[in-house]
Each structure stands twice: as structure tokens, then as C-alpha cells.
């Protein structure tokens, strides 16, 4: 028996998740073999290649937005989770405090330093090795510090009085030198082959030089050595390469029965600007019996202009006059990703990196299975 092919209308219905006033319906994906009698839904790479689509909306170094269409939530979510927790980045991990007479305690200062996003030559950062943190076993001693696993930085700042300050000056930043310690005070010291990678613009430095680290008064000083290593977000959030990585499903608004005149204006106000537009009812529509537009030629009707920007607030479902006239939904396989890089890598590279990590994980486990069977 040849497999049944569902109609376009049926497929479109399956693609929509229903958003109702109080409930969400038609949630799980059903595109699996054996779910719909007579239909095949087995994995077919050609079909996936054909159906999968990427739409790019925005591509800035620190923010990228794009749509992945034709994916299952399980896979899209895997990409999102990997983006946040499994892409190795460089961050300050160990702080050696030689001197700290500021009022902020060593451990608090160290914690603050760790959270500062660093940037530098991407090539160099990729060249560096990421070593899985030892799980506390005595046998696995700390790895030897080398140029490919540790970046050394220093923070040496001393606060002094500013003799040139005006007598009635009250601003501590003018009254003293180095009253505020900023991220720009971190100095990088290349070791070994790092001198080739992290030169000039590629030097390791904070993404934002103006992050306030500590405040001091004359006579206080901070002198510390910072060791940066590569790590992953699953170990500590400071290693997460993204500020946020999220997706939402494309909203879908379907006006089932005409919304005309003042109702149309009110309807448009239920949505963010630009989502619902007003158009005059054409005489052709008005002359068509049963369309709901009879005798309304020239009046304004509500039309869906751009569902992409809708927030799916469901406000329109609260009003009596729109009952049964509108159906809200979300498209199950249209993921609008938004990735904000914390600055070490560019946002689009991060997504590609996430896909690579998932593939590598699969490859590694699969190789393990081959050994298991042998």
C-alpha cells in the first residue's frame, strides 16, 4: 500500500499549536512513524534537506536573530542548551592575591573578576585547549600550566592622592588617582606561543573596559595575578559564551470571521504596533454573499500584517466582540532564535559552534558504541 499523503490543509493544521484563552492545545509533535495510520514519517535526509530553511533577521557581533524552519523542538532545544552550557570559553579561573588592602574581600573580588567577559584573538582562543575539570580525585592532579591552557593577567593598582585636585573637590575620582578600579586595569602577559596569537588587537582584554571592579581610597592597593582557563557554562556561568540564547515559536493569527469598523480598530489595539493592519473592504468582497462583508464596502476591516512581531498576549481573546472570530496559534517548527554573545565570539559563529558540538558528541558516543559491539 502506498503511504497516504495528508492534504496541505491537514499538514498546516498539524503545524499549529493552539493558543486559547486559558489553554494550549495540540502541543506534542506527531511526525513520527506509526502515529498517523498509513503515513510514513520515517527519517529521510533528502526530505529534511528539502524542507529545512534558515531565515536571517539580524547579524551583529553581539546579537544575531534568525529563524530555523522545519526542525523539531528536541533538536532546536539541544542547540539552545549547548549554546548556553557547552561551548568552551576563556574566563578568569584562579586568582592569586599578593596584596589586597582594599575594603573588598579577596574572595568577593575574585568572584567579581571571574565574571568579567574577556576577548582576544579568536584564532588564539580556539588554539587553546579546554581540559575537563578534575572531579576531585586525588589521582588526577591539576594539569600542568602551559601556554595552551592558561592565560596570565595581572591587576596591580594603587590608590593615591591627587595633588592637583581642587580644594573643594568632592568627586573621589578626581580627588584621588585610581579611586575606581576598572576592567581596563587588567594587564595581559603573553607566555610562549601566546605571543604569536594574542598580539595587537588580538591581545586578551576585557570586552568592556569600564566594568567597575572595586573602589579604593589613598593608601589602599590591589596586587594580584589572574589565571584564565577555558571552561564550559555547565561548570560555571562565567564560561557561558552567551548573555542570552533563546528561541520562540512564530506566532500565527487567523481571522476567521470579518472584524469591521470600530471593532477592527479595537482589535488592532490588542496587538503590538504593525501586527494588525486596517484595509478598506472592497466592493467585490461586499458584493459576495456569505462573506460577512455584505453592505460594508468602504469600511475598514482588520487584516494580519505581520504576525512575527506579535507577543501572543491573548488580549484579543478577552473581549466579547472577538469571540469566535480569531484563532491564535504558534507554528510548531518555526523557531526564531535570538543569540546575544557576551563578546568573546561572534553570535553567528556561536550557533555554528553549537551545531558542531552536538555533532561531535554524537560522533564520540557512536565511536564508543562501535567499540562496545566489537
Amino acid at each position: 500500500m502506498a503511504p497516504l499523503v495528508p492534504s496541505q490543509g491537514e499538514l498546516q493544521r498539524r503545524r499549529l499549536i493552539g493558543i486559547n484563552a486559558e489553554t494550549v492545545t495540540n502541543i506534542p509533535s506527531t511526525d513520527f512513524p506509526g502515529h498517523w495510520p498509513g503515513e510514513s514519517h520515517g527519517w529521510a535526509l533528502d526530505k529534511f534537506k528539502n524542507d529545512f530553511k534558515v531565515d536571517y533577521h539580524r547579524n551583529d557581533p553581539y546579537e544575531a536573530s534568525f529563524s530555523l524552519i522545519g526542525l523539531d523542538a528536541a533538536v532546536a532545544n539541544a542547540f539552545r542548551r549547548i549554546l548556553m552550557a557547552e561551548i568552551p570559553t576563556l574566563a578568569i579561573e584562579t586568582v592569586y592575591v599578593h596584596n589586597n588592602t582594599s575594603v573588598i574581600q579577596d574572595e568577593v573580588l575574585a568572584q567579581r573578576l571571574g565574571l568579567i567577559p574577556l576577548k582576544g584573538s579568536v584564532e588564539g582562543i580556539n588554539w587553546m585547549h579546554w581540559e575537563q575539570k578534575s572531579t576531585g580525585d586525588e589521582a588526577s592532579a591539576a594539569p600542568e600550566l602551559t601556554d595552551f591552557n592558561t592565560v596570565v593577567m595581572h591587576l596591580v593598582v594603587e590608590c593615591t592622592k591627587n595633588p592637583d585636585a581642587a580644594e573643594d573637590e568632592t568627586d573621589a575620582r578626581k580627588l584621588f588617582h585610581n579611586a575606581h578600579v576598572y576592567a581596563k586595569h587588567l594587564t595581559f602577559e603573553p607566555v610562549g606561543r601566546q605571543e604569536q596569537y594574542f598580539v595587537g588587537e588580538g591581545a586578551i582584554r576585557p570586552v568592556n573596559p569600564d566594568i567597575l571592579i572595586a573602589k579604593m581610597r589613598p593608601g589602599q592597593q590591589i596586587e594580584m595575578e589572574l589565571h584564565c582557563v577555558k571552561g564550559i557554562g555547565a561548570d560555571h556561568a562565567k564560561f557561558s559564551p552567551v548573555a542570552t540564547a533563546s528561541y520562540r515559536l512564530l506566532p500565527d493569527i487567523h481571522i476567521q470571521r470579518p472584524i469591521i469598523g470600530n471593532d477592527a480598530k479595537k482589535f488592532a489595539k490588542c496587538f503590538p504596533k504593525g501586527v494588525i493592519g486596517l484595509e478598506p473592504v472592497t466592493s467585490q468582497e461586499a458584493s459576495q454573499a456569505g462573506s460577512g462583508y455584505e453592505g460594508h464596502a468602504g469600511e475598514m476591516k482588520a487584516v494580519v500584517k505581520d504576525a512575527f512581531n506579535d507577543t501572543v498576549s491573548r488580549e484579543c481573546l478577552r473581549h466579547e466582540e472577538f469571540q469566535g472570530k480569531v484563532k491564535l496559534g504558534r507554528v510548531r517548527d518555526h523557531f526564531i532564535f535570538n543569540i546575544e554573545s557576551s563578546g568573546q565570539f561572534e553570535s553567528d559563529t556561536l550557533f555554528l559552534e553549537a551545531v558542531k558540538v552536538l555533532k561531535l558528541k554524537c560522533a564520540r558516543w557512536k565511536r564508543g558504541l562501535d567499540d562496545l559491539m566489537a
Partner: protein
């Protein structure tokens, strides 16, 4: 004496208490175990160091295989970094093969995503740079 809660029927293996895991495999310090009570067409695997990221994606890929009757994953305890994956197949394949195919399909999927993403991004960049120049 009341009957044991554990069936004596050798067919019903999944309910039997077994102390020792059967096979073990070291792989970058992370292991796959085949949990006790497995047969050719029905087996549970334990993945160490994996979570929902791999679990759900893999479950999806394996469920897409027509020869698989059931596939599900669980993380039995939130403080153990362990993921259990159950696969039951028809007689036309084995659970292990279904798992391998799942990995392969997921890898193929990743390739397609990378390829299409790169094309879409490059095209977007090109259009935008030309927009800025004009």
C-alpha cells in the same frame, strides 16, 4: 509462602534485580552501559555525563526510525549526571543498531543545518553590505 514479586519467568527479565552492570566501556572518562535485562530488540542504555540536551535530541532521532517501536529517555536522579535511554525495536533491527542509526541521523541533520545556516548568513551579510553602500 506468597509468590515472589520477582517473576521466575526467564522471559520477564526487565523486573529482575541484578547487581552487576553487564558491559562497561571507557570513553574519554565517560561511559555507556547496557543496563541489565536487555535483549537484542529491547535495551536500556546509560549515558554518563549526558542530560536533556543529548537525551531529547537522540530520542527524537531514534523515534524517527520506522523500525523502532518505543524510545524514551529519563534522568533518574537530578544529582547524578546520568541519562537512561530505552529503545524497543521490531525484529527487523536491534536496539544497538537503532541507537547507532540515531546518532548517524543526528549527525547528518547537523551537517544540513550547518550548510543551510552558512548559506543564509552569507547571503544576508551580502545583501546588507550592499544596502549600506548604496
Amino acid at each position: 509462602m506468597p509468590g515472589s514479586v520477582h517473576s521466575q519467568d526467564p522471559q520477564d527479565q526487565s523486573m529482575v534485580d541484578v547487581e552487576q552492570p553487564q558491559e562497561e566501556l571507557v570513553l574519554d572518562e565517560r561511559r555507556i552501559l547496557v543496563l541489565p535485562g536487555s535483549s537484542d530488540t529491547a535495551a536500556s542504555f546509560q549515558f554518563e555525563g549526558e542530560g536533556h540536551t543529548m537525551g531529547n535530541a537522540l530520542r527524537y532521532a531514534i523515534m524517527k526510525n520506522p523500525a523502532v517501536e518505543f524510545c524514551g529517555y529519563t534522568i533518574p536522579h537530578p544529582s547524578d549526571a546520568k541519562m537512561h535511554l530505552r529503545i524497543q525495536t521490531t525484529d527487523s533491527t536491534t536496539a544497538l543498531d537503532a541507537l547507532k542509526k540515531g546518532f548517524q541521523d543526528l549527525m547528518d541533520l547537523c551537517d544540513v543545518v550547518t550548510e543551510k545556516f552558512t548559506v543564509a548568513r552569507d547571503q544576508f551579510n551580502e545583501e546588507n553590505s550592499s544596502k549600506m553602500q548604496s
